[in-house]
Protein backbone atom coordinates (compact mmCIF):
# COMPACT_ATOMS: atom_id res chain seq x y z
CA UNK A 1 0.00 0.00 0.00
CA UNK A 2 2.73 2.38 1.07
CA UNK A 3 4.87 1.38 -1.87
CA UNK A 4 1.94 2.07 -4.18
CA UNK A 5 1.59 5.65 -2.92
CA UNK A 6 5.35 6.11 -3.12
CA UNK A 7 5.31 4.87 -6.70
CA UNK A 8 2.52 7.23 -7.59
CA UNK A 9 4.38 10.08 -5.92
CA UNK A 10 7.54 9.16 -7.81
CA UNK A 11 5.58 9.13 -11.06
CA UNK A 12 4.08 12.59 -10.49
CA UNK A 13 7.40 13.95 -9.28
CA UNK A 14 8.95 12.68 -12.50
CA UNK A 15 6.22 14.36 -14.57
CA UNK A 16 6.58 17.67 -12.72
CA UNK A 17 10.38 17.59 -12.95
CA UNK A 18 10.37 16.71 -16.63
CA UNK A 19 7.91 19.53 -17.42
CA UNK A 20 10.16 21.82 -15.41
CA UNK A 21 13.22 20.65 -17.34
CA UNK A 22 11.48 20.95 -20.68
CA UNK A 23 10.72 24.51 -19.73
CA UNK A 24 14.41 25.10 -19.26
CA UNK A 25 15.55 23.20 -22.29
CA UNK A 26 13.08 24.81 -24.67
CA UNK A 27 11.96 28.33 -23.86
CA UNK A 28 8.26 28.97 -24.02
CA UNK A 29 7.25 29.50 -27.58
CA UNK A 30 6.61 33.23 -27.75
CA UNK A 31 8.66 34.23 -24.72
CA UNK A 32 11.36 35.94 -26.76
CA UNK A 33 8.80 37.60 -29.00
CA UNK A 34 6.80 38.98 -26.08
CA UNK A 35 10.05 40.19 -24.56
CA UNK A 36 10.88 41.95 -27.81
CA UNK A 37 7.49 43.67 -27.74
CA UNK A 38 7.89 44.55 -24.07
CA UNK A 39 11.40 45.99 -24.47
CA UNK A 40 10.31 47.96 -27.51
CA UNK A 41 7.23 49.07 -25.57
CA UNK A 42 9.39 51.25 -23.33
CA UNK A 43 8.70 53.93 -25.91
CA UNK A 44 6.56 52.57 -28.77
CA UNK A 45 2.92 52.13 -27.74
CA UNK A 46 3.71 52.77 -24.08
CA UNK A 47 1.04 53.86 -21.61
CA UNK A 48 2.13 57.51 -21.49
CA UNK A 49 3.82 59.74 -24.05
CA UNK A 50 7.60 59.66 -23.89
CA UNK A 51 10.42 61.88 -25.04
CA UNK A 52 13.53 59.96 -26.06
CA UNK A 53 16.99 61.46 -26.55
CA UNK A 54 19.48 59.54 -28.67
CA UNK A 55 23.13 59.95 -29.54
CA UNK A 56 23.92 58.77 -33.01
CA UNK A 57 26.88 58.21 -35.29
CA UNK A 58 26.74 58.31 -39.06
CA UNK A 59 29.33 56.14 -40.83
CA UNK A 60 30.62 56.89 -44.33
CA UNK A 61 32.68 54.91 -46.80
CA UNK A 62 35.13 57.71 -47.56
CA UNK A 63 34.81 60.08 -44.61
CA UNK A 64 35.27 60.11 -40.86
CA UNK A 65 32.15 59.14 -38.88
CA UNK A 66 30.02 62.05 -37.71
CA UNK A 67 28.22 62.42 -34.41
CA UNK A 68 24.69 63.70 -34.06
CA UNK A 69 21.66 63.88 -31.81
CA UNK A 70 18.14 62.60 -32.39
CA UNK A 71 15.01 63.34 -30.42
CA UNK A 72 11.82 61.34 -30.63
CA UNK A 73 8.43 62.11 -29.16
CA UNK A 74 6.11 59.11 -28.90
CA UNK A 75 2.37 59.08 -28.43
CA UNK A 76 1.10 55.50 -28.65
CA UNK A 77 2.45 54.21 -31.98
CA UNK A 78 2.80 57.72 -33.45
CA UNK A 79 6.25 59.27 -33.53
CA UNK A 80 7.80 62.65 -34.19
CA UNK A 81 11.51 62.53 -34.89
CA UNK A 82 13.83 65.51 -34.84
CA UNK A 83 17.14 65.20 -36.64
CA UNK A 84 19.70 67.89 -35.95
CA UNK A 85 21.91 68.62 -38.92
CA UNK A 86 24.41 71.39 -39.51
CA UNK A 87 22.25 72.71 -42.34
CA UNK A 88 19.15 72.92 -40.13
CA UNK A 89 16.71 70.65 -38.37
CA UNK A 90 14.58 68.02 -40.07
CA UNK A 91 11.35 66.75 -38.56
CA UNK A 92 9.73 63.47 -39.51
CA UNK A 93 6.25 62.52 -38.41
CA UNK A 94 5.33 58.85 -38.68
CA UNK A 95 1.60 58.17 -38.64
CA UNK A 96 -0.83 55.56 -39.93
CA UNK A 97 -1.70 58.01 -42.68
CA UNK A 98 1.88 58.17 -43.90
CA UNK A 99 5.29 59.63 -43.24
CA UNK A 100 5.63 63.42 -43.31
CA UNK A 101 8.76 65.50 -43.76
CA UNK A 102 9.28 69.11 -42.70
CA UNK A 103 12.26 71.44 -42.81
CA UNK A 104 12.74 75.17 -43.00
CA UNK A 105 12.51 75.18 -46.79
CA UNK A 106 8.93 73.89 -46.94
CA UNK A 107 5.64 75.72 -46.44
CA UNK A 108 3.69 72.65 -45.39
CA UNK A 109 4.65 69.05 -44.50
CA UNK A 110 5.55 66.86 -47.45
CA UNK A 111 4.40 63.26 -47.57
CA UNK A 112 7.28 60.91 -48.34
CA UNK A 113 7.82 57.17 -48.57
CA UNK A 114 10.26 57.10 -45.64
CA UNK A 115 12.81 55.12 -47.61
CA UNK A 116 15.12 57.93 -48.54
CA UNK A 117 18.38 58.76 -46.79
CA UNK A 118 19.46 61.49 -44.44
CA UNK A 119 23.24 61.57 -44.04
CA UNK A 120 24.26 57.89 -44.06
CA UNK A 121 21.02 56.59 -42.54
CA UNK A 122 17.70 55.64 -44.00
CA UNK A 123 14.72 57.36 -42.42
CA UNK A 124 12.91 54.04 -42.01
CA UNK A 125 15.80 52.78 -39.85
CA UNK A 126 15.65 55.84 -37.60
CA UNK A 127 11.95 55.38 -36.93
CA UNK A 128 10.91 52.80 -34.41
CA UNK A 129 8.95 49.74 -35.42
CA UNK A 130 5.82 48.69 -33.58
CA UNK A 131 6.26 44.91 -33.39
CA UNK A 132 2.93 44.34 -31.66
CA UNK A 133 0.79 46.19 -34.21
CA UNK A 134 2.65 45.97 -37.52
CA UNK A 135 4.04 42.43 -37.21
CA UNK A 136 2.83 39.11 -35.87
CA UNK A 137 4.64 35.90 -34.93
CA UNK A 138 4.80 33.52 -37.91
CA UNK A 139 7.28 30.79 -36.99
CA UNK A 140 9.29 29.92 -33.92
CA UNK A 141 12.49 27.88 -33.94
CA UNK A 142 12.79 26.58 -30.39
CA UNK A 143 16.31 25.17 -30.76
CA UNK A 144 18.08 28.22 -32.15
CA UNK A 145 16.28 31.01 -30.25
CA UNK A 146 15.10 32.32 -33.56
CA UNK A 147 11.72 33.46 -34.81
CA UNK A 148 10.06 34.90 -37.86
CA UNK A 149 7.69 37.86 -37.91
CA UNK A 150 5.23 38.59 -40.68
CA UNK A 151 3.75 41.99 -41.43
CA UNK A 152 0.07 42.53 -40.67
CA UNK A 153 -0.19 45.47 -43.05
CA UNK A 154 0.57 45.32 -46.78
CA UNK A 155 1.79 48.90 -46.79
CA UNK A 156 4.94 48.03 -44.84
CA UNK A 157 8.08 47.76 -46.93
CA UNK A 158 9.45 44.49 -45.56
CA UNK A 159 7.09 41.49 -45.44
CA UNK A 160 9.22 39.40 -43.07
CA UNK A 161 11.65 39.92 -40.22
CA UNK A 162 13.81 37.10 -38.97
CA UNK A 163 14.94 37.59 -35.35
CA UNK A 164 17.88 35.78 -33.72
CA UNK A 165 18.61 36.24 -30.03
CA UNK A 166 22.11 35.97 -28.55
CA UNK A 167 23.75 36.88 -25.27
CA UNK A 168 26.32 39.65 -25.38
CA UNK A 169 29.78 38.56 -24.23
CA UNK A 170 30.87 39.90 -20.87
CA UNK A 171 27.62 41.65 -20.01
CA UNK A 172 24.31 40.02 -19.24
CA UNK A 173 22.63 41.87 -22.07
CA UNK A 174 20.82 40.29 -24.97
CA UNK A 175 21.31 41.05 -28.63
CA UNK A 176 18.34 40.82 -30.96
CA UNK A 177 19.49 40.58 -34.55
CA UNK A 178 16.75 41.61 -36.97
CA UNK A 179 17.06 40.63 -40.62
CA UNK A 180 14.48 42.28 -42.84
CA UNK A 181 13.44 40.08 -45.73
CA UNK A 182 11.54 40.50 -48.96
CA UNK A 183 8.56 38.51 -50.26
CA UNK A 184 10.68 35.46 -51.14
CA UNK A 185 12.35 35.64 -47.69
CA UNK A 186 15.65 36.84 -49.14
CA UNK A 187 17.53 38.99 -46.60
CA UNK A 188 17.69 42.70 -47.49
CA UNK A 189 18.69 44.63 -44.42
CA UNK A 190 20.20 43.90 -41.03
CA UNK A 191 19.71 45.72 -37.71
CA UNK A 192 20.96 44.81 -34.25
CA UNK A 193 19.13 45.78 -31.06
CA UNK A 194 20.98 45.52 -27.74
CA UNK A 195 19.14 45.62 -24.41
CA UNK A 196 20.07 47.89 -21.52
CA UNK A 197 18.80 50.14 -18.75
CA UNK A 198 17.96 53.76 -19.56
CA UNK A 199 16.57 56.11 -16.89
CA UNK A 200 15.67 53.04 -14.83
CA UNK A 201 13.66 51.52 -17.66
CA UNK A 202 14.64 48.27 -19.35
CA UNK A 203 14.57 48.72 -23.11
CA UNK A 204 16.61 48.48 -26.28
CA UNK A 205 19.50 50.79 -25.59
CA UNK A 206 21.62 50.48 -28.68
CA UNK A 207 20.66 49.98 -32.31
CA UNK A 208 23.20 49.17 -35.02
CA UNK A 209 22.25 49.46 -38.68
CA UNK A 210 24.48 47.44 -41.01
CA UNK A 211 25.44 48.45 -44.50
CA UNK A 212 24.87 44.98 -45.90
CA UNK A 213 23.34 41.76 -44.68
CA UNK A 214 26.62 39.83 -44.89
CA UNK A 215 29.03 42.14 -43.01
CA UNK A 216 29.39 41.42 -39.35
CA UNK A 217 32.02 43.51 -37.64
CA UNK A 218 34.26 46.52 -38.03
CA UNK A 219 33.21 50.14 -38.28
CA UNK A 220 33.33 49.99 -42.07
CA UNK A 221 30.30 47.73 -42.07
CA UNK A 222 28.05 50.17 -40.16
CA UNK A 223 25.68 52.63 -41.71
CA UNK A 224 24.41 54.15 -38.57
CA UNK A 225 24.40 53.52 -34.81
CA UNK A 226 22.25 55.12 -32.17
CA UNK A 227 22.28 54.84 -28.40
CA UNK A 228 19.40 55.92 -26.21
CA UNK A 229 20.48 58.47 -23.62
CA UNK A 230 17.29 59.17 -21.76
CA UNK A 231 13.59 58.33 -21.70
CA UNK A 232 11.28 60.85 -20.04
CA UNK A 233 7.58 60.57 -19.47
CA UNK A 234 5.73 63.57 -20.78
CA UNK A 235 2.28 64.78 -21.81
CA UNK A 236 1.28 65.72 -25.31
CA UNK A 237 -2.16 66.13 -26.86
CA UNK A 238 -2.70 63.38 -29.40
CA UNK A 239 -4.67 65.83 -31.59
CA UNK A 240 -1.33 67.45 -32.49
CA UNK A 241 -0.25 64.23 -34.18
CA UNK A 242 -1.54 64.89 -37.67
CA UNK A 243 -0.08 66.43 -40.81
CA UNK A 244 -2.05 69.69 -40.45
CA UNK A 245 -0.77 70.39 -36.94
CA UNK A 246 2.76 69.16 -37.57
CA UNK A 247 4.37 72.61 -37.26
CA UNK A 248 2.72 73.16 -33.88
CA UNK A 249 3.78 69.72 -32.75
CA UNK A 250 7.38 70.56 -33.67
CA UNK A 251 7.05 73.79 -31.69
CA UNK A 252 5.67 71.84 -28.72
CA UNK A 253 8.57 69.41 -28.91
CA UNK A 254 11.03 72.31 -28.92
CA UNK A 255 9.36 73.60 -25.76
CA UNK A 256 9.70 70.18 -24.12
CA UNK A 257 13.38 70.06 -25.05
CA UNK A 258 14.15 73.40 -23.43
Amino acid sequence: MNRNILNKLKFWLFIILSVFCINFAYPEENNLYSELVKLNGAYVNSASSVLVTMKCTYYYADKKPEEGTLYALFNKYQELLKIELKTGNIYILDLDSGCYFLNNKLRSPLKVSGNYSIESAQVSDMLSIDFSKDYELEEFDTKAAKFLLKRTNNKLLYPYISVTVQNEKGTGEKIYELTFMDRSQKPVRKLQYTTGNVSGIRCFKKVVVYKSVLDNAGSSSYDFIYTIDSIEKTTVNSALFNSVNMKDLCEYMEQLLQ
Partner: protein, 341 residues
Protein backbone atom coordinates in the same frame (compact mmCIF):
# COMPACT_ATOMS: atom_id res chain seq x y z
CA UNK B 1 9.37 109.67 -32.40
CA UNK B 2 6.15 108.58 -30.67
CA UNK B 3 6.06 105.46 -32.88
CA UNK B 4 9.49 104.35 -31.68
CA UNK B 5 8.46 104.94 -28.07
CA UNK B 6 5.40 102.77 -28.67
CA UNK B 7 7.48 99.95 -30.16
CA UNK B 8 9.88 100.20 -27.22
CA UNK B 9 6.95 100.10 -24.77
CA UNK B 10 5.60 96.95 -26.45
CA UNK B 11 8.98 95.21 -26.11
CA UNK B 12 9.31 96.30 -22.48
CA UNK B 13 5.84 94.93 -21.81
CA UNK B 14 6.65 91.58 -23.44
CA UNK B 15 9.79 91.23 -21.33
CA UNK B 16 7.97 92.17 -18.15
CA UNK B 17 5.12 89.77 -18.98
CA UNK B 18 7.57 86.97 -19.63
CA UNK B 19 8.81 87.21 -16.07
CA UNK B 20 5.39 86.35 -14.64
CA UNK B 21 3.90 84.05 -17.30
CA UNK B 22 5.62 81.18 -19.07
CA UNK B 23 5.76 81.43 -22.82
CA UNK B 24 8.27 81.42 -25.62
CA UNK B 25 9.01 84.22 -27.98
CA UNK B 26 11.06 84.75 -31.10
CA UNK B 27 11.98 87.59 -33.34
CA UNK B 28 12.21 87.66 -37.06
CA UNK B 29 12.27 89.82 -40.13
CA UNK B 30 11.51 89.60 -43.79
CA UNK B 31 12.61 91.71 -46.70
CA UNK B 32 11.37 91.39 -50.23
CA UNK B 33 12.12 93.22 -53.41
CA UNK B 34 10.26 92.57 -56.63
CA UNK B 35 11.41 94.15 -59.86
CA UNK B 36 9.40 93.77 -63.05
CA UNK B 37 11.18 94.39 -66.34
CA UNK B 38 8.53 95.41 -68.83
CA UNK B 39 8.85 95.38 -72.61
CA UNK B 40 9.72 98.68 -74.28
CA UNK B 41 6.67 100.89 -74.57
CA UNK B 42 5.91 104.61 -74.59
CA UNK B 43 3.43 104.54 -71.67
CA UNK B 44 5.04 102.98 -68.61
CA UNK B 45 8.56 102.98 -67.22
CA UNK B 46 10.61 99.95 -68.20
CA UNK B 47 11.24 98.74 -64.70
CA UNK B 48 9.07 98.97 -61.64
CA UNK B 49 10.24 97.92 -58.23
CA UNK B 50 8.57 97.34 -54.86
CA UNK B 51 10.24 96.93 -51.49
CA UNK B 52 8.92 95.73 -48.17
CA UNK B 53 10.75 95.29 -44.91
CA UNK B 54 8.95 93.77 -41.94
CA UNK B 55 10.19 93.27 -38.39
CA UNK B 56 8.15 91.08 -36.08
CA UNK B 57 8.07 89.39 -32.70
CA UNK B 58 6.27 86.11 -32.17
CA UNK B 59 4.81 85.28 -28.78
CA UNK B 60 3.73 81.68 -28.25
CA UNK B 61 1.51 80.21 -25.59
CA UNK B 62 1.45 76.50 -26.18
CA UNK B 63 -0.39 74.26 -23.75
CA UNK B 64 -1.48 70.69 -24.24
CA UNK B 65 -5.04 71.59 -25.29
CA UNK B 66 -4.76 75.04 -26.82
CA UNK B 67 -2.31 77.22 -28.66
CA UNK B 68 -2.14 80.97 -28.97
CA UNK B 69 0.49 82.84 -30.87
CA UNK B 70 0.67 86.29 -32.38
CA UNK B 71 3.32 88.23 -34.22
CA UNK B 72 2.89 92.01 -34.06
CA UNK B 73 5.09 93.75 -36.59
CA UNK B 74 6.21 97.04 -38.01
CA UNK B 75 6.73 97.23 -41.75
CA UNK B 76 8.37 99.69 -44.03
CA UNK B 77 7.17 100.24 -47.56
CA UNK B 78 6.87 103.25 -49.89
CA UNK B 79 9.00 105.33 -47.50
CA UNK B 80 6.53 104.92 -44.64
CA UNK B 81 6.38 102.84 -41.46
CA UNK B 82 3.14 101.05 -40.57
CA UNK B 83 2.18 98.85 -37.64
CA UNK B 84 0.87 95.46 -38.68
CA UNK B 85 0.24 91.87 -37.80
CA UNK B 86 2.64 89.41 -39.44
CA UNK B 87 0.77 86.35 -38.24
CA UNK B 88 -1.57 85.08 -35.55
CA UNK B 89 -2.94 81.75 -34.50
CA UNK B 90 -5.49 80.46 -32.07
CA UNK B 91 -6.15 76.75 -31.97
CA UNK B 92 -8.07 74.49 -29.64
CA UNK B 93 -7.79 70.74 -29.95
CA UNK B 94 -9.59 67.90 -28.34
CA UNK B 95 -9.07 64.30 -29.37
CA UNK B 96 -9.87 64.15 -33.09
CA UNK B 97 -11.30 67.68 -33.36
CA UNK B 98 -9.44 70.91 -33.77
CA UNK B 99 -10.55 74.44 -34.41
CA UNK B 100 -8.32 77.11 -35.88
CA UNK B 101 -8.56 80.87 -36.29
CA UNK B 102 -5.41 82.28 -37.75
CA UNK B 103 -3.50 84.53 -40.04
CA UNK B 104 -1.02 82.00 -41.30
CA UNK B 105 0.30 80.13 -44.28
CA UNK B 106 -2.29 77.89 -45.94
CA UNK B 107 -1.26 75.34 -48.53
CA UNK B 108 -2.15 71.86 -49.68
CA UNK B 109 -2.02 69.89 -52.91
CA UNK B 110 0.67 69.12 -55.44
CA UNK B 111 2.06 70.91 -58.47
CA UNK B 112 4.86 73.23 -59.52
CA UNK B 113 3.28 75.08 -62.45
CA UNK B 114 -0.36 74.73 -61.38
CA UNK B 115 -2.25 73.32 -58.43
CA UNK B 116 -5.94 72.79 -59.06
CA UNK B 117 -6.81 71.15 -55.77
CA UNK B 118 -5.95 74.30 -53.85
CA UNK B 119 -8.97 76.63 -54.28
CA UNK B 120 -6.83 79.72 -53.69
CA UNK B 121 -5.26 79.09 -57.13
CA UNK B 122 -8.44 80.49 -58.65
CA UNK B 123 -8.39 83.83 -56.83
CA UNK B 124 -4.79 84.61 -56.09
CA UNK B 125 -2.74 82.84 -58.72
CA UNK B 126 0.75 83.96 -57.73
CA UNK B 127 0.30 82.57 -54.20
CA UNK B 128 -0.78 79.17 -55.31
CA UNK B 129 2.06 77.10 -56.59
CA UNK B 130 5.10 75.47 -55.10
CA UNK B 131 5.59 74.22 -51.61
CA UNK B 132 8.71 76.28 -50.97
CA UNK B 133 9.02 78.30 -47.80
CA UNK B 134 10.10 81.56 -49.44
CA UNK B 135 7.61 83.70 -51.30
CA UNK B 136 4.33 83.26 -49.53
CA UNK B 137 1.99 85.51 -47.59
CA UNK B 138 -0.11 84.71 -44.58
CA UNK B 139 -3.90 84.59 -45.01
CA UNK B 140 -6.68 85.13 -42.51
CA UNK B 141 -8.51 81.83 -42.24
CA UNK B 142 -10.59 79.73 -39.96
CA UNK B 143 -10.88 75.96 -40.09
CA UNK B 144 -12.46 73.04 -38.35
CA UNK B 145 -10.77 69.64 -38.58
CA UNK B 146 -12.09 66.20 -37.80
CA UNK B 147 -9.34 63.58 -37.91
CA UNK B 148 -10.82 60.08 -37.99
CA UNK B 149 -7.31 58.56 -38.11
CA UNK B 150 -7.47 58.76 -34.32
CA UNK B 151 -10.14 56.05 -34.36
CA UNK B 152 -8.31 54.01 -37.06
CA UNK B 153 -10.38 55.26 -40.01
CA UNK B 154 -7.99 56.73 -42.61
CA UNK B 155 -10.09 59.83 -43.27
CA UNK B 156 -9.89 63.47 -42.36
CA UNK B 157 -12.50 66.19 -42.87
CA UNK B 158 -11.80 69.90 -43.09
CA UNK B 159 -14.12 72.86 -43.45
CA UNK B 160 -12.53 76.24 -43.85
CA UNK B 161 -12.93 79.90 -44.84
CA UNK B 162 -10.04 81.90 -46.28
CA UNK B 163 -10.37 85.67 -46.67
CA UNK B 164 -8.71 88.38 -48.75
CA UNK B 165 -6.05 89.43 -46.24
CA UNK B 166 -4.63 92.30 -48.29
CA UNK B 167 -7.96 94.14 -48.06
CA UNK B 168 -8.52 93.32 -44.39
CA UNK B 169 -5.05 94.62 -43.52
CA UNK B 170 -5.89 97.88 -45.28
CA UNK B 171 -9.19 98.06 -43.29
CA UNK B 172 -11.25 97.45 -46.44
CA UNK B 173 -14.02 95.02 -47.29
CA UNK B 174 -12.59 91.67 -48.52
CA UNK B 175 -12.60 91.39 -52.31
CA UNK B 176 -12.69 87.64 -52.29
CA UNK B 177 -13.63 84.78 -50.01
CA UNK B 178 -12.89 81.08 -50.38
CA UNK B 179 -14.95 78.47 -48.57
CA UNK B 180 -14.12 74.84 -48.79
CA UNK B 181 -15.09 71.44 -47.42
CA UNK B 182 -12.50 68.75 -47.96
CA UNK B 183 -12.23 65.03 -47.30
CA UNK B 184 -8.81 63.37 -47.31
CA UNK B 185 -7.99 59.71 -47.47
CA UNK B 186 -4.41 58.84 -46.65
CA UNK B 187 -2.37 55.72 -46.05
CA UNK B 188 1.36 55.03 -46.26
CA UNK B 189 1.52 55.33 -50.04
CA UNK B 190 -1.81 56.53 -51.44
CA UNK B 191 -3.54 59.79 -50.71
CA UNK B 192 -6.73 61.10 -52.24
CA UNK B 193 -8.65 64.31 -51.63
CA UNK B 194 -12.02 65.62 -52.67
CA UNK B 195 -12.80 69.28 -52.18
CA UNK B 196 -15.96 71.30 -52.69
CA UNK B 197 -15.41 75.05 -52.69
CA UNK B 198 -17.74 77.97 -53.26
CA UNK B 199 -15.59 80.99 -54.20
CA UNK B 200 -16.76 84.60 -53.93
CA UNK B 201 -15.04 87.03 -56.28
CA UNK B 202 -16.06 89.95 -58.47
CA UNK B 203 -19.37 90.15 -56.52
CA UNK B 204 -20.44 86.67 -57.62
CA UNK B 205 -20.29 83.16 -56.29
CA UNK B 206 -18.72 80.32 -58.21
CA UNK B 207 -18.94 76.67 -57.21
CA UNK B 208 -16.05 74.33 -57.75
CA UNK B 209 -15.32 70.67 -57.21
CA UNK B 210 -11.71 69.56 -57.19
CA UNK B 211 -9.88 66.39 -56.43
CA UNK B 212 -6.42 64.94 -56.21
CA UNK B 213 -4.82 61.51 -56.21
CA UNK B 214 -1.20 60.96 -55.25
CA UNK B 215 0.79 57.77 -55.07
CA UNK B 216 4.23 57.44 -53.54
CA UNK B 217 6.17 54.37 -54.62
CA UNK B 218 8.70 52.75 -52.31
CA UNK B 219 11.62 54.19 -54.31
CA UNK B 220 10.24 57.74 -53.84
CA UNK B 221 8.80 58.00 -57.31
CA UNK B 222 5.76 60.25 -57.01
CA UNK B 223 2.78 60.27 -59.30
CA UNK B 224 0.09 62.88 -58.80
CA UNK B 225 -2.89 64.32 -60.55
CA UNK B 226 -5.40 66.96 -59.63
CA UNK B 227 -8.37 68.42 -61.42
CA UNK B 228 -11.00 71.04 -60.89
CA UNK B 229 -14.42 71.55 -62.42
CA UNK B 230 -16.74 74.51 -62.09
CA UNK B 231 -20.35 74.35 -63.05
CA UNK B 232 -19.77 76.49 -66.17
CA UNK B 233 -18.16 73.38 -67.66
CA UNK B 234 -14.55 74.55 -67.39
CA UNK B 235 -12.15 71.73 -66.70
CA UNK B 236 -8.68 72.25 -65.27
CA UNK B 237 -6.38 69.26 -64.91
CA UNK B 238 -2.79 68.52 -64.00
CA UNK B 239 -0.72 65.37 -64.20
CA UNK B 240 2.76 65.17 -62.73
CA UNK B 241 5.54 62.78 -61.87
CA UNK B 242 8.71 63.32 -59.91
CA UNK B 243 11.61 61.28 -58.69
CA UNK B 244 14.37 62.11 -56.24
CA UNK B 245 17.95 60.88 -56.63
CA UNK B 246 20.79 60.98 -54.18
CA UNK B 247 24.34 61.36 -55.44
CA UNK B 248 26.92 61.92 -52.71
CA UNK B 249 25.84 65.08 -50.90
CA UNK B 250 23.62 66.26 -53.71
CA UNK B 251 19.91 65.64 -53.94
CA UNK B 252 18.31 65.85 -57.34
CA UNK B 253 14.60 65.82 -57.96
CA UNK B 254 13.40 65.67 -61.51
CA UNK B 255 9.81 66.36 -62.38
CA UNK B 256 7.51 66.41 -65.36
CA UNK B 257 4.16 68.11 -65.42
CA UNK B 258 1.32 68.33 -67.87
CA UNK B 259 -1.27 70.94 -67.20
CA UNK B 260 -4.57 71.65 -68.92
CA UNK B 261 -5.87 74.95 -67.61
CA UNK B 262 -9.08 75.90 -69.38
CA UNK B 263 -8.74 74.62 -72.97
CA UNK B 264 -5.02 75.14 -73.03
CA UNK B 265 -2.06 72.81 -72.70
CA UNK B 266 1.18 73.41 -70.81
CA UNK B 267 4.19 71.16 -70.44
CA UNK B 268 6.87 71.62 -67.86
CA UNK B 269 10.11 69.99 -66.85
CA UNK B 270 11.89 71.04 -63.73
CA UNK B 271 14.87 70.10 -61.63
CA UNK B 272 15.49 70.71 -57.96
CA UNK B 273 19.11 70.49 -56.85
CA UNK B 274 19.97 70.55 -53.16
CA UNK B 275 23.49 70.84 -51.86
CA UNK B 276 24.12 71.68 -48.21
CA UNK B 277 22.79 75.18 -47.66
CA UNK B 278 22.02 75.80 -51.32
CA UNK B 279 19.08 74.78 -53.37
CA UNK B 280 18.23 75.55 -56.95
CA UNK B 281 14.88 75.09 -58.61
CA UNK B 282 15.11 75.45 -62.35
CA UNK B 283 12.66 74.62 -65.05
CA UNK B 284 11.17 75.44 -68.37
CA UNK B 285 7.59 75.36 -69.39
CA UNK B 286 5.98 75.46 -72.73
CA UNK B 287 2.83 77.49 -72.65
CA UNK B 288 0.24 78.87 -75.01
CA UNK B 289 0.24 82.46 -73.86
CA UNK B 290 -3.10 84.12 -74.54
CA UNK B 291 -1.88 87.62 -73.79
CA UNK B 292 0.75 87.52 -76.48
CA UNK B 293 -1.24 85.14 -78.65
CA UNK B 294 1.52 82.71 -79.38
CA UNK B 295 3.32 79.79 -77.84
CA UNK B 296 6.28 80.53 -75.65
CA UNK B 297 8.87 78.85 -73.51
CA UNK B 298 9.11 80.25 -70.04
CA UNK B 299 12.11 79.91 -67.78
CA UNK B 300 11.78 79.83 -64.04
CA UNK B 301 14.74 79.85 -61.69
CA UNK B 302 14.97 80.11 -57.96
CA UNK B 303 18.25 79.99 -56.10
CA UNK B 304 18.00 79.89 -52.35
CA UNK B 305 20.43 79.80 -49.49
CA UNK B 306 19.17 78.46 -46.17
CA UNK B 307 21.28 78.93 -43.06
CA UNK B 308 19.18 77.40 -40.30
CA UNK B 309 16.41 79.95 -39.88
CA UNK B 310 17.79 82.48 -42.32
CA UNK B 311 16.61 82.26 -45.90
CA UNK B 312 17.96 84.18 -48.85
CA UNK B 313 16.28 83.58 -52.18
CA UNK B 314 16.64 84.95 -55.66
CA UNK B 315 13.97 84.17 -58.24
CA UNK B 316 14.19 85.00 -61.92
CA UNK B 317 11.25 84.32 -64.22
CA UNK B 318 11.60 85.32 -67.83
CA UNK B 319 8.61 85.13 -70.08
CA UNK B 320 10.03 83.87 -73.33
CA UNK B 321 13.34 82.36 -74.26
CA UNK B 322 12.66 82.19 -77.99
CA UNK B 323 12.05 85.87 -78.58
CA UNK B 324 14.15 88.94 -77.88
CA UNK B 325 13.92 89.62 -74.17
CA UNK B 326 12.92 93.24 -74.61
CA UNK B 327 9.61 92.15 -76.12
CA UNK B 328 8.43 90.30 -73.02
CA UNK B 329 8.37 91.07 -69.33
CA UNK B 330 10.54 89.38 -66.74
CA UNK B 331 10.39 89.33 -62.95
CA UNK B 332 13.25 89.36 -60.47
CA UNK B 333 12.46 88.68 -56.83
CA UNK B 334 14.91 88.93 -53.98
CA UNK B 335 13.85 87.82 -50.55
CA UNK B 336 15.55 87.61 -47.18
CA UNK B 337 13.73 86.08 -44.26
CA UNK B 338 14.62 85.14 -40.73
CA UNK B 339 11.92 83.11 -39.08
CA UNK B 340 11.79 80.09 -36.81
CA UNK B 341 10.06 77.05 -38.25
Amino acid sequence: MKKYALVFAVYAFIHAFRAVCLFSYDMGFSYSNTTVFLPENPYTPQTSSTNKFELFTTVNFLKSYYLLSFSPSVYYTDDKIYPGLYGAKFMVFYNMFSFLLAKNNVYFGEGIIDNFLFPLSFVNADQAYSNSYYQYTNFWNTAFYCDLNKISVPLMFTTSVIADTESIDAYKKPQWLVLFAKADYSDKSLSASLCYSPIYKNDAWENRISGEVKYIFANDFNLYSNASYNFDKDIFALLGASKAFLVDEYTFATGLELSYPDNDMQYAIYEVIDYNYLSLVTGVYYVNNDTYNNRSITLMNTLSLTLNNLQISITWDSWNLLEKRSAYPAVLQIGVKYEKL
